[in-house]
């Protein structure tokens, strides 16, 4: 690497002035104890980086003369917490595959093509500046437009350009790209958003102008002018009635067809009756026209539903859903050279192709091992944390992790055809439609409608019969009663509260897929939790080291074991290495020069001679529930290491908090019952609620057996249970399939966010109830005035915004209190 000529005078004083000692210079996260440092010139302090990735990106930026990145970032600030660049992942050559290009690239105009990428790590203004400079560094790229909200960049380039060069440039700048295809879902959603926005705009413009004419009428305009004002407000109300309010008619109609009543029914009732009454009065020249209140009602409700929809969508799209994006990559053996592989996207693989799976990679396809023996970690697929041994000829499934030696696998099924894909397909087709939770407001609306209709008829008789007001006046008052009781506040109560809740949840890394999930969470009766990855770290950890013999040589033995285990890739070996290094507080002292005749026997353990002693680590039959490894020196047992899947620190606390809410807790896991019992004990769940050795089907039955159950999980084996549960919660780091199927996705590890979700939901329900009370109060006020005949258009025009404002303020105030309680 050429000596970096850093013109860093501005950047250096930037460094001296602001960044505290151990913060990564590039991404600003706290650098771990093991830091990468870079010092260009003697007199300036060395620059700290948190990982190799950040360091290389820094060097590329300064080489390209793009130091301004750091200044812009400091001044313009960032809108999301930054994440370290991390180590190099797979290459980008797979993008040049013509078949992939057919899927993902679209032709914009002759000679110009476009492709969209999801970029991980977009977090600040300077990212926009950096990414949109790519055309200056990759010839052939015409324009790069980044959409910050969705972190999606659309790149336009010449026809002949290789997309891998563009992707490589993004990766060099520290953003790993995933090609993205605008599915029908997204296009349909975009079209729907636009048509709703137009309806809101039309309603807004007409409401504004009608209100101004209404104010003139209330102000006392008379004569020809007043007629003009009334007729023009009638004309302006027509687009609101026949177009903007369409969503209400559709949902009311679908509700009625299903014999259920939603809050849209009284709204439609109010609008139609109000319109009829106003037209009748208009034609007869009476001043009782309600076009302004009705159009305001349509506008306020439409606007609140649009905002709720967009908040929901934004939450879903945030960066933590990276797993959804783009195909994973496989190395296919091209026919020509025997062991030469070519990177291709998984979607392109056909049965019969042979792929190579290196150590530490997930197997992308179902297939048969052609060559090589190794150990597979199937925790995510089957739930067991105990690795399985495979040899040539064995069948393997997509989603398992290859832990020991590179394998060659002949593809038997890929993509949706794989076992995991099948599970997904069955779930999506047969996904049992969760009983549509009847929203609190809809339940209230049912009584509300009958009250209004009944009350209307009753009051009509009172006006006509008892008070002998004559048919005209009686009809007028009754219609006034119906219009005034039109539930603007009632309909606003829920969407406003849910919008606030969804927004706050998203900010806290809790992504809720649809607003009514919040109401479901409150009525959850019991909670099922998956073990691996949710309650536990999801990987092996050393629990204890018991010195049986030769205590005086303990230090030497530990050194030898460390030396031995460093050579093996087994997850147990890695756990032992982590344990021994952390015991020595990070200093690696390799006093032992060489190891003689090291052997690793599959499933048996490891053996090696160090300084004349024969050391061997062998599995001991598990007396206790965990797995144990014996340490033999010159074939004499001198220590036993006990290992197991360590429980997260916060799991116990979170389980306690959930328990305090009176929710019976149970663990469902594919792992051995013994291990599950131990974990249950550790977190304070009774043994009778700890079920081990369950397959995906048994998990689903157990969840379905208990009504109103919430399932938390992250593996493929949890997918059916998550889908069947009343509320499915997928945890950070889980399989792509579990994320797609769940109702809620926790972007932060552990169960802490789940507790916050419960708090958020219960207090949001409290806010909704309070809003409903306010709205009913306003309605009672309106109805009582209507009964005594005091209701005129001005009264309705004042009552409507007032009630909406009260509900808005109560939501806003309500949620503020909520924020204190959560943080």
């Amino acid at each position: 690497m050429a000596q970096i000529r850093l013109k860093m005078e501005r950047v250096i004083d930037l460094l001296a002035s602001s960044t505290p000692s151990d913060v990564c210079f590039h991404c600003g996260t706290i650098a771990p104890s093991k830091k990468w440092t870079l010092s260009e010139s003697e007199q300036s302090a060395p620059l700290i980086f948190c990982c190799q990735g950040c360091l290389t990106v820094f060097q590329i930026l300064s080489a390209r003369g793009l130091e301004a990145y750091y200044e812009i970032k400091k001044k313009a600030g960032s809108f999301r917490p930054a994440t370290p660049v991390g180590g190099p992942s797979h290459g980008d050559e797979y993008l040049d595959d013509p078949e992939l290009r057919r899927h993902y690239a679209t032709e914009v105009s002759p000679g110009l093509q476009q492709m969209q990428f999801y970029l991980e790590g977009i977090h600040c203004a300077a990212c926009v500046w950096l990414i949109e400079k790519v055309p200056d560094f990759v010839p052939g790229v015409i324009s790069v437009r980044l959409e910050v909200g969705r972190s999606v960049v659309s790149v336009q380039a010449r026809k002949d350009l290789a997309w891998s060069s563009v992707a490589r440039q993004f990766r060099e700048f520290g953003y790993s790209p995933h090609p993205v295809r605008e599915g029908e879902g997204e296009q349909f959603e975009a079209k729907e958003n636009r048509s709703l926005l137009i309806k809101v705009g039309v309603a807004g413009a007409c409401t504004g102008n009608i209100m101004l004419m209404a104010v003139s009428l209330y102000g006392g305009a008379t004569g020809v002018l007043a007629e003009w004002f009334r007729w023009i407000s009638f004309l302006l109300f027509l687009p609101v009635l026949f177009w903007s309010a369409l969503p209400f008619y559709k949902s009311a109609y679908s509700n009625l067809r299903m014999k259920s009543v939603s809050v849209d029914v009284p709204i439609v009732l109010g609008i139609v009756l109000g319109f009829v009454a106003s037209v009748v009065n208009l034609v007869q020249g009476s001043a009782h026209i309600y076009f302004d209140s009705l159009s305001m009602l349509v506008f306020l409700l439409l606007a609140s539903r649009y905002i709720l929809k967009r908040t929901g969508q934004n939450a879903l799209r945030s960066s933590s859903l990276a797993h959804f994006m783009g195909p994973s990559v496989a190395r296919r053996y091209a026919g020509a050279e025997p062991n030469e592989t070519q990177e291709v996207s998984v979607e392109v693989l056909r049965p019969g192709d042979v792929v190579e799976v290196r150590v530490g990679e997930t197997i992308p396809v179902d297939g048969v091992v052609v060559q090589g023996e190794s150990r597979l970690n199937c925790a995510l697929l089957t739930g067991e944390s105990e690795p399985q041994k495979v040899v040539a000829g064995d069948v393997v499934f997509a989603g398992t992790l290859n832990e020991q030696t590179p394998l060659r696998i002949r593809v038997s099924a890929s993509g949706v055809a794989t076992r995991v894909g099948q599970i997904l397909k069955t779930i999506q087709q047969g996904s049992v439609k969760k009983a549509p939770i009847v929203q609190l407001t809809d339940r209230v609306a049912r009584y509300f409608v009958s009250a209004v209709l009944g009350g209307g008829l009753l009051s009509f008789f009172i006006f006509a019969g008892v008070m002998q007001l004559g048919f005209e006046e009686a009809l007028n008052r009754t219609l006034a009663l119906v219009i005034v009781s039109c539930p603007c506040a009632l309909a606003l109560a829920t969407p406003l509260a849910l919008t606030r809740a969804m927004g706050q949840a998203a900010r806290r890394g809790i992504l809720i897929k649809s607003a009514e999930v919040i109401e479901r969470i409150v009525s959850v009766k019991n909670v099922f939790v998956d073990k691996t990855g949710t309650l536990t770290e999801g990987r092996f950890e050393v629990l204890s080291w018991e010195q049986k013999d030769q205590p005086e040589d303990r230090f030497e033995i530990e050194q030898a074991v460390l030396e031995l285990e460093k050579r093996s890739t087994h997850s147990i070996a890695k756990a032992v290495v982590r344990y021994l290094i952390s015991k020595k507080s990070g200093k690696e002292t390799s006093t032992f020069a060489g190891i003689v005749d090291f052997q690793e026997r599959l499933g048996k353990g490891v053996f090696g001679r160090i300084r004349g002693h024969g050391y061997e680590l062998r599995r001991v039959d598990a007396l206790s529930m965990n797995s144990q490894v014996g340490v033999y020196r010159d074939s004499r047992l001198c220590a036993i290491i006990e290992l197991g899947d360590q429980v997260r620190e916060d799991s116990a606390v979170s389980i306690q908090q959930l328990g305090r809410r009176g929710l019976p807790m149970a663990i469902l896991s594919g792992d051995s019952p013994a291990v599950v019992k131990r974990v249950a004990g550790a977190v304070g769940i009774g043994n009778q609620n700890a079920w081990g050795g369950l397959g995906p089907e048994q998990k689903q039955e157990r969840v379905v057996a208990h009504p109103f159950s919430l399932m938390v999980g992250d593996g493929a084996n949890d997918a059916q249970a998550l889908n069947a549960a009343f509320v499915g919660v997928a945890v950070h780091g889980g399989m792509e399939i579990s994320l797609r199927v769940a109702d809620v996705y926790l972007a932060r590890p552990g169960l802490g966010p789940l507790v916050e979700l419960f708090d958020l939901s219960t207090s949001t329900l409290g806010v909704i109830r309070r809003n409903l009370v306010f709205s009913l109060l306003y309605n009672l006020l309106g109805i009582s005035f209507a009964l005594i005949g005091k209701v005129n258009p001005l009264f309705a025009a004042l009552l409507m915004p007032l009630s909406a404002l009260t509900v808005y303020v109560s939501t806003w105030v309500g949620s503020r209190g909520l924020r204190e309680r959560i943080t």
Partner: protein, 62 residues
């Protein structure tokens, strides 16, 4: 007060004219991304600045 007979139509003409432009713009996708423009505004660069940065870097083609 008859002037209102003229003022009112023109006021509505203009107001609803802008509504027409609003609908045309929604169709043209002007309101799809309302976050990035605020950032993109800050980064207009002149050719000199790009060139200065371009040739300052030693290992790319442009």
């Amino acid at each position: 007060m008859n002037i209102v007979f003229i003022l009112l139509p023109f006021a509505l003409l203009l107001g609803l004219g802008f509504l027409g432009i609003f609908i045309w713009m929604v169709g043209a996708g002007q309101f799809d991304d309302l976050e990035t423009p605020a950032y993109r505004l800050l980064f207009e660069e002149t050719s000199e600045e790009t060139k200065k940065k371009g040739n300052a870097s030693d290992d790319n083609g442009t």
